[in-house]
Amino acid sequence: MTNQVSVQTRVSIRVGKGEIFGFLGANGAGKTTLIRMLCGLLLPSDGQGTVAGFDIYRESEQIKRNIGYMSQRFSLYEDLTVEENIEFYGGIYGLNDEAIRKKKTQIFAELKLTLRAKTLTRDLPLGFKQRLALGCAMLHEPSIIFLDEPTSGVDPRVRRAFWDVIHRTADHGTTVFVTTHFMEEAEYCHRVCIMDTGKVIALDTPENLRQRFQQPTMQKVFVELVKSRIGKRI
Protein backbone atom coordinates (compact mmCIF):
# COMPACT_ATOMS: atom_id res chain seq x y z
CA MET A 1 0.00 0.00 0.00
CA THR A 2 1.53 3.33 -0.99
CA ASN A 3 1.08 6.30 1.22
CA GLN A 4 -1.07 8.87 -0.43
CA VAL A 5 -1.28 11.58 2.17
CA SER A 6 1.17 12.45 4.87
CA VAL A 7 1.16 15.72 6.71
CA GLN A 8 3.36 16.87 9.50
CA THR A 9 2.63 20.07 11.26
CA ARG A 10 1.44 19.63 14.76
CA VAL A 11 -0.52 16.96 13.00
CA SER A 12 1.01 13.81 11.53
CA ILE A 13 -1.17 11.51 9.50
CA ARG A 14 -0.54 8.90 6.82
CA VAL A 15 -3.50 7.72 4.80
CA GLY A 16 -3.32 4.66 2.54
CA LYS A 17 -4.70 4.10 -0.95
CA GLY A 18 -8.34 2.99 -1.07
CA GLU A 19 -8.75 3.85 2.59
CA ILE A 20 -11.80 5.64 3.98
CA PHE A 21 -10.29 7.97 6.51
CA GLY A 22 -12.64 9.76 8.90
CA PHE A 23 -11.63 13.09 10.29
CA LEU A 24 -13.51 14.13 13.42
CA GLY A 25 -13.34 17.11 15.71
CA ALA A 26 -15.37 19.75 17.46
CA ASN A 27 -16.30 22.91 15.55
CA GLY A 28 -13.12 24.95 15.30
CA ALA A 29 -10.75 22.02 15.91
CA GLY A 30 -8.90 22.71 12.65
CA LYS A 31 -10.50 20.18 10.30
CA THR A 32 -11.36 22.53 7.45
CA THR A 33 -7.96 24.26 7.72
CA LEU A 34 -6.15 20.95 7.35
CA ILE A 35 -8.33 19.88 4.43
CA ARG A 36 -7.70 23.15 2.65
CA MET A 37 -3.95 22.70 3.12
CA LEU A 38 -4.13 19.19 1.72
CA CYS A 39 -6.08 20.44 -1.28
CA GLY A 40 -3.42 23.01 -2.07
CA LEU A 41 -5.68 25.93 -1.18
CA LEU A 42 -3.76 27.08 1.90
CA LEU A 43 -0.05 27.05 2.73
CA PRO A 44 1.04 25.50 6.03
CA SER A 45 2.98 27.67 8.49
CA ASP A 46 5.40 24.87 9.21
CA GLY A 47 6.05 21.19 8.59
CA GLN A 48 5.83 19.01 5.52
CA GLY A 49 3.23 17.10 3.62
CA THR A 50 2.59 15.24 0.42
CA VAL A 51 -0.70 14.45 -1.25
CA ALA A 52 -0.80 11.74 -3.94
CA GLY A 53 2.98 11.99 -3.85
CA PHE A 54 3.10 15.76 -4.50
CA ASP A 55 4.56 18.32 -2.15
CA ILE A 56 2.01 20.69 -0.61
CA TYR A 57 4.32 23.72 -0.90
CA ARG A 58 5.76 23.36 -4.38
CA GLU A 59 3.33 21.18 -6.29
CA SER A 60 -0.11 22.51 -5.42
CA GLU A 61 -1.11 22.60 -9.11
CA GLN A 62 -0.36 18.89 -9.54
CA ILE A 63 -2.23 18.22 -6.30
CA LYS A 64 -5.30 20.01 -7.59
CA ARG A 65 -5.27 17.87 -10.72
CA ASN A 66 -5.08 14.65 -8.69
CA ILE A 67 -7.64 15.28 -6.00
CA GLY A 68 -11.35 15.92 -5.79
CA TYR A 69 -12.79 18.31 -3.20
CA MET A 70 -16.40 18.52 -2.15
CA SER A 71 -16.84 21.50 0.13
CA GLN A 72 -19.50 21.96 2.80
CA ARG A 73 -21.21 24.44 0.51
CA PHE A 74 -21.17 22.15 -2.56
CA SER A 75 -20.23 24.98 -5.01
CA LEU A 76 -22.59 23.91 -7.79
CA TYR A 77 -24.10 26.34 -10.29
CA GLU A 78 -27.70 26.63 -9.16
CA ASP A 79 -28.97 28.07 -12.45
CA LEU A 80 -27.47 25.27 -14.55
CA THR A 81 -29.11 21.87 -14.95
CA VAL A 82 -27.59 18.73 -13.46
CA GLU A 83 -26.16 17.80 -16.84
CA GLU A 84 -24.78 21.29 -17.49
CA ASN A 85 -22.95 21.27 -14.16
CA ILE A 86 -21.23 18.02 -15.13
CA GLU A 87 -20.33 19.44 -18.56
CA PHE A 88 -19.05 22.66 -17.03
CA TYR A 89 -16.82 20.93 -14.48
CA GLY A 90 -15.66 18.45 -17.13
CA GLY A 91 -14.53 21.43 -19.21
CA ILE A 92 -12.68 22.96 -16.27
CA TYR A 93 -10.81 19.72 -15.69
CA GLY A 94 -9.82 19.70 -19.36
CA LEU A 95 -11.85 16.64 -20.41
CA ASN A 96 -12.79 16.49 -24.13
CA ASP A 97 -16.41 16.16 -25.28
CA GLU A 98 -16.15 12.40 -25.76
CA ALA A 99 -14.69 11.90 -22.26
CA ILE A 100 -17.33 14.14 -20.71
CA ARG A 101 -20.10 12.20 -22.43
CA LYS A 102 -18.72 8.91 -21.15
CA LYS A 103 -18.22 10.14 -17.59
CA LYS A 104 -21.67 11.69 -17.58
CA THR A 105 -23.36 8.39 -18.41
CA GLN A 106 -21.25 6.55 -15.86
CA ILE A 107 -21.81 9.09 -13.04
CA PHE A 108 -25.54 9.37 -13.72
CA ALA A 109 -25.91 5.60 -13.49
CA GLU A 110 -23.76 5.23 -10.39
CA LEU A 111 -25.30 8.12 -8.48
CA LYS A 112 -28.85 7.56 -9.77
CA LEU A 113 -29.13 11.00 -11.35
CA THR A 114 -30.30 10.00 -14.84
CA LEU A 115 -33.93 11.02 -14.30
CA ARG A 116 -32.85 14.45 -13.04
CA ALA A 117 -30.42 15.26 -15.87
CA LYS A 118 -32.51 18.20 -17.14
CA THR A 119 -33.52 19.52 -13.70
CA LEU A 120 -32.23 22.90 -12.62
CA THR A 121 -29.79 22.39 -9.78
CA ARG A 122 -31.60 24.90 -7.58
CA ASP A 123 -34.73 22.73 -7.75
CA LEU A 124 -32.95 19.58 -6.55
CA PRO A 125 -33.56 18.18 -3.06
CA LEU A 126 -30.47 18.37 -0.87
CA GLY A 127 -29.70 14.66 -1.23
CA PHE A 128 -29.41 14.99 -5.01
CA LYS A 129 -27.30 18.13 -4.82
CA GLN A 130 -24.96 16.27 -2.57
CA ARG A 131 -24.58 13.39 -5.03
CA LEU A 132 -24.16 15.79 -7.95
CA ALA A 133 -21.43 17.63 -6.03
CA LEU A 134 -19.69 14.32 -5.46
CA GLY A 135 -20.03 13.45 -9.14
CA CYS A 136 -18.51 16.80 -10.17
CA ALA A 137 -15.62 16.32 -7.73
CA MET A 138 -14.82 12.92 -9.26
CA LEU A 139 -15.07 13.71 -12.98
CA HIS A 140 -11.31 13.71 -13.52
CA GLU A 141 -10.90 10.37 -11.69
CA PRO A 142 -8.85 11.75 -8.80
CA SER A 143 -6.82 9.35 -6.69
CA ILE A 144 -7.99 11.06 -3.49
CA ILE A 145 -11.26 12.71 -2.70
CA PHE A 146 -11.81 15.12 0.18
CA LEU A 147 -15.35 15.39 1.52
CA ASP A 148 -15.97 18.17 4.05
CA GLU A 149 -19.12 17.37 6.05
CA PRO A 150 -20.90 15.95 3.01
CA THR A 151 -23.95 14.73 4.95
CA SER A 152 -24.83 17.74 7.11
CA GLY A 153 -28.58 18.28 7.15
CA VAL A 154 -29.67 15.21 5.19
CA ASP A 155 -31.93 12.54 6.63
CA PRO A 156 -30.83 9.01 7.64
CA ARG A 157 -32.03 7.42 4.42
CA VAL A 158 -30.09 9.82 2.20
CA ARG A 159 -27.06 9.53 4.48
CA ARG A 160 -27.04 5.74 4.14
CA ALA A 161 -27.37 5.93 0.36
CA PHE A 162 -24.47 8.39 0.25
CA TRP A 163 -22.25 6.10 2.31
CA ASP A 164 -22.97 3.23 -0.08
CA VAL A 165 -21.51 5.46 -2.78
CA ILE A 166 -18.48 6.28 -0.62
CA HIS A 167 -17.80 2.58 -0.06
CA ARG A 168 -18.08 1.80 -3.77
CA THR A 169 -15.71 4.66 -4.54
CA ALA A 170 -13.14 3.30 -2.09
CA ASP A 171 -13.59 -0.24 -3.43
CA HIS A 172 -12.43 1.12 -6.81
CA GLY A 173 -9.17 2.22 -5.17
CA THR A 174 -9.93 5.91 -4.55
CA THR A 175 -8.81 7.21 -1.19
CA VAL A 176 -11.61 8.97 0.70
CA PHE A 177 -10.84 11.61 3.32
CA VAL A 178 -14.09 12.63 5.01
CA THR A 179 -15.16 14.87 7.90
CA THR A 180 -18.45 14.42 9.70
CA HIS A 181 -20.39 15.29 12.84
CA PHE A 182 -22.38 12.05 12.67
CA MET A 183 -20.44 9.68 14.89
CA GLU A 184 -22.34 6.74 13.48
CA GLU A 185 -20.63 7.51 10.17
CA ALA A 186 -17.27 7.35 11.92
CA GLU A 187 -17.98 3.65 12.38
CA TYR A 188 -18.08 3.20 8.59
CA CYS A 189 -14.51 4.48 8.16
CA HIS A 190 -11.49 2.21 8.04
CA ARG A 191 -9.64 4.53 10.40
CA VAL A 192 -10.57 7.75 12.16
CA CYS A 193 -8.61 10.64 13.51
CA ILE A 194 -10.02 12.85 16.27
CA MET A 195 -8.69 16.40 16.40
CA ASP A 196 -9.01 18.98 19.16
CA THR A 197 -7.62 22.53 19.15
CA GLY A 198 -5.24 21.75 16.32
CA LYS A 199 -3.88 18.48 17.72
CA VAL A 200 -4.55 14.84 16.94
CA ILE A 201 -5.84 13.27 20.15
CA ALA A 202 -6.73 9.83 18.78
CA LEU A 203 -6.00 7.91 15.58
CA ASP A 204 -7.02 4.30 15.03
CA THR A 205 -9.72 1.99 13.71
CA PRO A 206 -13.18 2.62 15.21
CA GLU A 207 -13.09 -0.83 16.81
CA ASN A 208 -9.75 -0.25 18.52
CA LEU A 209 -10.88 3.16 19.78
CA ARG A 210 -14.08 1.72 21.23
CA GLN A 211 -12.08 -0.97 22.98
CA ARG A 212 -9.34 1.32 24.25
CA PHE A 213 -11.77 3.82 25.77
CA GLN A 214 -14.24 1.10 26.78
CA GLN A 215 -17.22 2.77 25.15
CA PRO A 216 -19.96 1.03 23.15
CA THR A 217 -20.08 3.58 20.31
CA MET A 218 -17.89 6.17 18.58
CA GLN A 219 -20.37 8.84 19.71
CA LYS A 220 -19.47 8.06 23.33
CA VAL A 221 -15.74 7.79 22.57
CA PHE A 222 -15.82 11.23 20.98
CA VAL A 223 -17.87 12.96 23.67
CA GLU A 224 -15.79 11.49 26.51
CA LEU A 225 -12.49 12.23 24.83
CA VAL A 226 -13.29 15.82 23.89
CA LYS A 227 -14.99 16.59 27.22
CA SER A 228 -11.98 15.28 29.14
CA ARG A 229 -9.84 17.80 27.28
CA ILE A 230 -11.99 20.87 27.86
CA GLY A 231 -10.20 21.61 31.14
CA LYS A 232 -6.83 21.36 29.41
CA ARG A 233 -7.73 23.79 26.64
CA ILE A 234 -7.91 26.93 28.74
Binding site: N27, G153, V154, P156, R157, W163, H167, E184, P206, R210
Partner: protein, 308 residues
Amino acid sequence: MSDPALNIINFSKNYGSRVAVDRVSLRVKEGELFGLIGPDGAGKTSLIRAICTLLKPTGGQILVNGLDVARDIFAIRSILGYMPQRFSLYPDLTVEQNLKFFADVFKVPEAEREKRLAQLYKFSRLAPFKDRQAAALSGGMKQKLALSCALIHTPEILVLDEPTFGVDPVSREEFWEILAEIRREGTTIFVSTAYMDEADRCDRVALMHLGKIIASGTPVQVKAQYRFPLFRVTGKQLRQLREFFDRQPAVHNTQLFGEAVHVSFTEAPAPGDWQRWVRASGENLQKWSPQQPTMEDVFMENIGGESQ
Protein backbone atom coordinates in the same frame (compact mmCIF):
# COMPACT_ATOMS: atom_id res chain seq x y z
CA MET B 1 -59.28 24.31 30.12
CA SER B 2 -56.76 26.78 28.73
CA ASP B 3 -55.80 26.85 25.06
CA PRO B 4 -52.98 24.57 23.98
CA ALA B 5 -49.73 26.46 23.42
CA LEU B 6 -49.92 25.45 19.79
CA ASN B 7 -52.97 24.21 17.95
CA ILE B 8 -52.47 23.26 14.32
CA ILE B 9 -55.72 22.36 12.58
CA ASN B 10 -55.68 20.92 9.07
CA PHE B 11 -52.87 23.21 8.06
CA SER B 12 -51.81 23.11 4.39
CA LYS B 13 -49.24 25.05 2.44
CA ASN B 14 -48.89 24.99 -1.35
CA TYR B 15 -46.25 26.64 -3.50
CA GLY B 16 -47.98 26.92 -6.87
CA SER B 17 -49.07 23.38 -7.66
CA ARG B 18 -46.59 21.80 -5.23
CA VAL B 19 -48.04 20.73 -1.89
CA ALA B 20 -45.41 21.32 0.83
CA VAL B 21 -47.63 20.62 3.85
CA ASP B 22 -50.78 18.56 3.51
CA ARG B 23 -53.56 18.93 6.15
CA VAL B 24 -51.41 18.62 9.25
CA SER B 25 -53.04 18.68 12.70
CA LEU B 26 -51.04 18.81 15.94
CA ARG B 27 -51.58 20.08 19.49
CA VAL B 28 -48.67 21.07 21.69
CA LYS B 29 -49.35 21.53 25.39
CA GLU B 30 -48.07 24.39 27.47
CA GLY B 31 -44.60 23.65 28.83
CA GLU B 32 -44.05 20.74 26.48
CA LEU B 33 -40.84 20.01 24.54
CA PHE B 34 -42.13 18.88 21.16
CA GLY B 35 -39.92 17.51 18.37
CA LEU B 36 -40.68 17.60 14.65
CA ILE B 37 -38.64 14.98 12.81
CA GLY B 38 -38.43 14.44 9.12
CA PRO B 39 -36.19 14.27 6.08
CA ASP B 40 -35.08 17.18 4.02
CA GLY B 41 -38.06 18.40 1.99
CA ALA B 42 -40.69 16.91 4.32
CA GLY B 43 -42.27 20.33 4.93
CA LYS B 44 -40.83 21.01 8.40
CA THR B 45 -39.55 24.49 7.63
CA SER B 46 -42.82 25.53 5.96
CA LEU B 47 -44.76 24.43 9.03
CA ILE B 48 -42.36 26.25 11.35
CA ARG B 49 -42.40 29.45 9.32
CA ALA B 50 -46.20 29.42 9.34
CA ILE B 51 -46.24 29.02 13.14
CA CYS B 52 -43.94 32.05 13.34
CA THR B 53 -46.36 34.14 11.17
CA LEU B 54 -43.84 34.26 8.32
CA LEU B 55 -45.94 32.25 5.86
CA LYS B 56 -49.67 32.43 5.20
CA PRO B 57 -51.50 29.08 5.39
CA THR B 58 -53.05 27.91 2.11
CA GLY B 59 -55.65 26.05 4.14
CA GLY B 60 -56.50 25.33 7.77
CA GLN B 61 -55.56 27.27 10.85
CA ILE B 62 -52.70 27.67 13.30
CA LEU B 63 -53.34 29.05 16.79
CA VAL B 64 -50.51 30.11 19.07
CA ASN B 65 -51.84 30.46 22.62
CA GLY B 66 -55.25 30.92 21.02
CA LEU B 67 -54.01 33.64 18.65
CA ASP B 68 -54.43 33.13 14.89
CA VAL B 69 -51.24 33.29 12.77
CA ALA B 70 -53.20 34.74 9.87
CA ARG B 71 -54.59 37.68 11.88
CA ASP B 72 -52.76 38.25 15.16
CA ILE B 73 -49.30 38.56 13.69
CA PHE B 74 -47.82 41.13 16.05
CA ALA B 75 -49.40 39.71 19.18
CA ILE B 76 -47.88 36.33 18.34
CA ARG B 77 -44.45 37.77 17.61
CA SER B 78 -44.31 39.28 21.09
CA ILE B 79 -44.86 35.91 22.79
CA LEU B 80 -42.88 33.74 20.40
CA GLY B 81 -39.12 33.30 20.00
CA TYR B 82 -37.87 31.96 16.66
CA MET B 83 -34.46 30.57 15.83
CA PRO B 84 -34.24 30.05 12.05
CA GLN B 85 -32.25 27.28 10.41
CA ARG B 86 -29.45 29.43 9.09
CA PHE B 87 -27.35 31.80 11.14
CA SER B 88 -29.30 35.06 11.23
CA LEU B 89 -27.16 37.27 13.44
CA TYR B 90 -25.04 40.24 12.52
CA PRO B 91 -21.54 38.83 12.00
CA ASP B 92 -19.83 42.21 12.38
CA LEU B 93 -21.51 42.98 15.70
CA THR B 94 -20.19 41.58 18.96
CA VAL B 95 -22.09 39.05 21.06
CA GLU B 96 -23.36 41.79 23.36
CA GLN B 97 -24.25 44.16 20.51
CA ASN B 98 -26.31 41.41 18.88
CA LEU B 99 -28.19 40.78 22.12
CA LYS B 100 -28.85 44.49 22.64
CA PHE B 101 -29.99 44.91 19.06
CA PHE B 102 -32.57 42.15 19.49
CA ALA B 103 -33.57 43.63 22.85
CA ASP B 104 -34.31 46.92 21.01
CA VAL B 105 -36.23 45.21 18.22
CA PHE B 106 -38.37 43.32 20.73
CA LYS B 107 -38.76 46.40 22.95
CA VAL B 108 -37.36 44.81 26.09
CA PRO B 109 -37.76 47.55 28.76
CA GLU B 110 -34.50 49.24 29.78
CA ALA B 111 -35.04 48.28 33.42
CA GLU B 112 -35.23 44.55 32.66
CA ARG B 113 -32.47 44.47 30.10
CA GLU B 114 -29.42 43.98 32.34
CA LYS B 115 -31.13 41.25 34.31
CA ARG B 116 -32.19 39.41 31.16
CA LEU B 117 -28.70 39.62 29.64
CA ALA B 118 -27.22 38.27 32.88
CA GLN B 119 -29.64 35.32 32.78
CA LEU B 120 -28.88 34.57 29.15
CA TYR B 121 -25.13 34.76 29.75
CA LYS B 122 -25.52 32.41 32.67
CA PHE B 123 -27.02 29.55 30.75
CA SER B 124 -25.17 30.15 27.46
CA ARG B 125 -21.80 30.68 29.21
CA LEU B 126 -21.07 33.32 26.59
CA ALA B 127 -20.11 36.07 29.08
CA PRO B 128 -16.34 35.64 28.52
CA PHE B 129 -16.93 36.19 24.79
CA LYS B 130 -19.33 39.14 24.96
CA ASP B 131 -16.93 41.49 23.14
CA ARG B 132 -16.11 39.01 20.39
CA GLN B 133 -17.56 39.54 16.91
CA ALA B 134 -20.24 37.00 16.09
CA ALA B 135 -18.34 36.06 12.92
CA ALA B 136 -15.41 34.85 15.05
CA LEU B 137 -17.46 32.48 17.23
CA SER B 138 -17.28 28.69 16.85
CA GLY B 139 -20.30 26.86 15.41
CA GLY B 140 -21.57 25.81 18.82
CA MET B 141 -21.22 29.31 20.27
CA LYS B 142 -23.02 30.86 17.29
CA GLN B 143 -25.95 28.54 17.94
CA LYS B 144 -26.03 29.54 21.61
CA LEU B 145 -25.96 33.22 20.68
CA ALA B 146 -28.80 32.74 18.18
CA LEU B 147 -30.76 30.93 20.88
CA SER B 148 -30.09 33.75 23.36
CA CYS B 149 -31.32 36.33 20.84
CA ALA B 150 -34.51 34.30 20.29
CA LEU B 151 -35.06 34.31 24.06
CA ILE B 152 -34.32 37.99 24.68
CA HIS B 153 -37.98 38.98 25.13
CA THR B 154 -38.72 36.01 27.43
CA PRO B 155 -41.15 34.34 24.99
CA GLU B 156 -43.75 31.83 26.13
CA ILE B 157 -43.07 29.65 23.11
CA LEU B 158 -39.71 28.96 21.57
CA VAL B 159 -39.58 27.65 17.99
CA LEU B 160 -36.31 26.26 16.63
CA ASP B 161 -35.64 25.07 13.09
CA GLU B 162 -32.85 22.45 13.06
CA PRO B 163 -30.81 24.31 15.67
CA THR B 164 -28.00 21.75 15.76
CA PHE B 165 -27.38 21.58 12.01
CA GLY B 166 -23.61 21.18 11.47
CA VAL B 167 -22.84 21.33 15.20
CA ASP B 168 -20.37 18.85 16.73
CA PRO B 169 -21.56 16.13 19.16
CA VAL B 170 -20.27 17.80 22.32
CA SER B 171 -21.82 21.20 21.52
CA ARG B 172 -25.00 19.41 20.49
CA GLU B 173 -25.28 17.73 23.86
CA GLU B 174 -24.64 21.03 25.62
CA PHE B 175 -27.30 22.73 23.48
CA TRP B 176 -29.90 20.14 24.47
CA GLU B 177 -29.03 20.53 28.13
CA ILE B 178 -29.78 24.23 27.73
CA LEU B 179 -33.12 23.43 26.06
CA ALA B 180 -34.03 21.16 28.98
CA GLU B 181 -33.25 24.03 31.34
CA ILE B 182 -35.45 26.46 29.39
CA ARG B 183 -38.24 23.91 29.44
CA ARG B 184 -37.94 23.52 33.22
CA GLU B 185 -38.63 27.23 33.48
CA GLY B 186 -41.99 26.59 31.81
CA THR B 187 -41.31 27.67 28.24
CA THR B 188 -43.00 25.62 25.52
CA ILE B 189 -40.48 24.43 22.93
CA PHE B 190 -41.17 23.31 19.35
CA VAL B 191 -38.01 22.05 17.64
CA SER B 192 -37.26 20.37 14.32
CA THR B 193 -34.30 18.06 13.82
CA ALA B 194 -32.76 15.54 11.45
CA TYR B 195 -30.94 13.83 14.35
CA MET B 196 -32.89 10.83 15.55
CA ASP B 197 -31.13 10.70 18.92
CA GLU B 198 -32.46 14.19 19.67
CA ALA B 199 -36.01 12.98 19.18
CA ASP B 200 -35.57 10.80 22.27
CA ARG B 201 -35.02 13.90 24.39
CA CYS B 202 -38.47 15.34 23.57
CA ASP B 203 -41.70 14.87 25.56
CA ARG B 204 -43.54 14.12 22.34
CA VAL B 205 -42.55 13.90 18.70
CA ALA B 206 -44.15 13.89 15.27
CA LEU B 207 -42.57 12.25 12.23
CA MET B 208 -43.17 14.23 9.07
CA HIS B 209 -42.79 12.92 5.55
CA LEU B 210 -43.90 14.35 2.19
CA GLY B 211 -45.94 17.04 3.90
CA LYS B 212 -47.85 14.68 6.21
CA ILE B 213 -47.52 13.58 9.83
CA ILE B 214 -46.98 9.83 9.64
CA ALA B 215 -46.57 9.10 13.35
CA SER B 216 -46.77 11.03 16.61
CA GLY B 217 -46.73 10.48 20.35
CA THR B 218 -44.18 10.13 23.12
CA PRO B 219 -40.86 8.64 21.93
CA VAL B 220 -41.87 5.40 23.71
CA GLN B 221 -45.26 5.29 21.93
CA VAL B 222 -43.75 6.04 18.53
CA LYS B 223 -41.11 3.35 18.93
CA ALA B 224 -43.80 0.87 20.05
CA GLN B 225 -45.40 1.22 16.61
CA TYR B 226 -42.56 -0.80 15.15
CA ARG B 227 -44.17 -4.15 14.36
CA PHE B 228 -41.34 -6.50 13.37
CA PRO B 229 -39.10 -8.65 15.59
CA LEU B 230 -35.82 -6.74 15.55
CA PHE B 231 -32.29 -8.02 16.22
CA ARG B 232 -28.93 -6.39 16.53
CA VAL B 233 -26.25 -8.49 14.83
CA THR B 234 -22.51 -8.02 14.66
CA GLY B 235 -19.78 -9.82 12.80
CA LYS B 236 -16.40 -9.55 11.17
CA GLN B 237 -17.50 -7.79 7.99
CA LEU B 238 -20.61 -5.72 8.61
CA ARG B 239 -21.40 -4.71 5.04
CA GLN B 240 -21.11 -8.30 3.83
CA LEU B 241 -23.16 -9.43 6.84
CA ARG B 242 -25.89 -7.01 5.91
CA GLU B 243 -25.87 -8.24 2.31
CA PHE B 244 -26.06 -11.79 3.64
CA PHE B 245 -29.20 -11.04 5.65
CA ASP B 246 -30.71 -9.13 2.74
CA ARG B 247 -30.74 -12.46 0.89
CA GLN B 248 -32.52 -14.45 3.64
CA PRO B 249 -36.26 -15.01 2.96
CA ALA B 250 -37.49 -14.39 6.55
CA VAL B 251 -35.82 -10.97 6.64
CA HIS B 252 -38.05 -7.92 6.40
CA ASN B 253 -35.38 -5.23 6.37
CA THR B 254 -31.74 -4.52 7.25
CA GLN B 255 -30.08 -1.28 8.29
CA LEU B 256 -26.44 -0.55 8.92
CA PHE B 257 -26.06 1.20 12.29
CA GLY B 258 -22.40 2.01 12.60
CA GLU B 259 -20.97 -0.82 14.69
CA ALA B 260 -23.92 -3.22 14.16
CA VAL B 261 -26.61 -4.23 11.67
CA HIS B 262 -30.27 -4.08 12.67
CA VAL B 263 -32.19 -6.94 11.06
CA SER B 264 -35.98 -7.12 11.25
CA PHE B 265 -37.83 -10.33 10.50
CA THR B 266 -41.32 -11.14 9.30
CA GLU B 267 -41.31 -13.88 11.98
CA ALA B 268 -38.99 -14.22 14.97
CA PRO B 269 -36.18 -16.65 14.07
CA ALA B 270 -35.66 -19.90 16.00
CA PRO B 271 -32.31 -20.70 17.71
CA GLY B 272 -31.57 -23.21 14.98
CA ASP B 273 -31.89 -20.49 12.34
CA TRP B 274 -29.06 -18.51 13.95
CA GLN B 275 -26.73 -21.51 13.99
CA ARG B 276 -27.52 -22.10 10.34
CA TRP B 277 -26.76 -18.46 9.50
CA VAL B 278 -23.44 -18.59 11.35
CA ARG B 279 -22.38 -21.45 9.06
CA ALA B 280 -23.94 -20.03 5.89
CA SER B 281 -22.24 -16.66 6.39
CA GLY B 282 -18.86 -18.39 6.67
CA GLU B 283 -18.66 -17.54 10.39
CA ASN B 284 -19.04 -13.85 9.55
CA LEU B 285 -22.04 -13.66 11.90
CA GLN B 286 -20.71 -13.54 15.46
CA LYS B 287 -23.31 -12.09 17.84
CA TRP B 288 -27.04 -11.44 17.84
CA SER B 289 -29.47 -10.14 20.44
CA PRO B 290 -33.01 -8.74 20.46
CA GLN B 291 -32.99 -4.99 19.88
CA GLN B 292 -35.46 -2.39 21.12
CA PRO B 293 -36.45 -0.34 18.05
CA THR B 294 -34.80 3.07 17.99
CA MET B 295 -36.34 6.21 16.53
CA GLU B 296 -34.14 5.70 13.49
CA ASP B 297 -35.58 2.19 12.93
CA VAL B 298 -39.08 3.66 13.03
CA PHE B 299 -38.09 6.46 10.72
CA MET B 300 -36.45 4.15 8.17
CA GLU B 301 -39.42 1.77 8.35
CA ASN B 302 -41.86 4.57 7.57
CA ILE B 303 -39.97 6.17 4.73
CA GLY B 304 -37.32 3.57 3.90
CA GLY B 305 -39.10 1.96 0.97
CA GLU B 306 -39.56 5.27 -0.81
CA SER B 307 -37.77 5.37 -4.14
CA GLN B 308 -35.60 8.39 -4.80
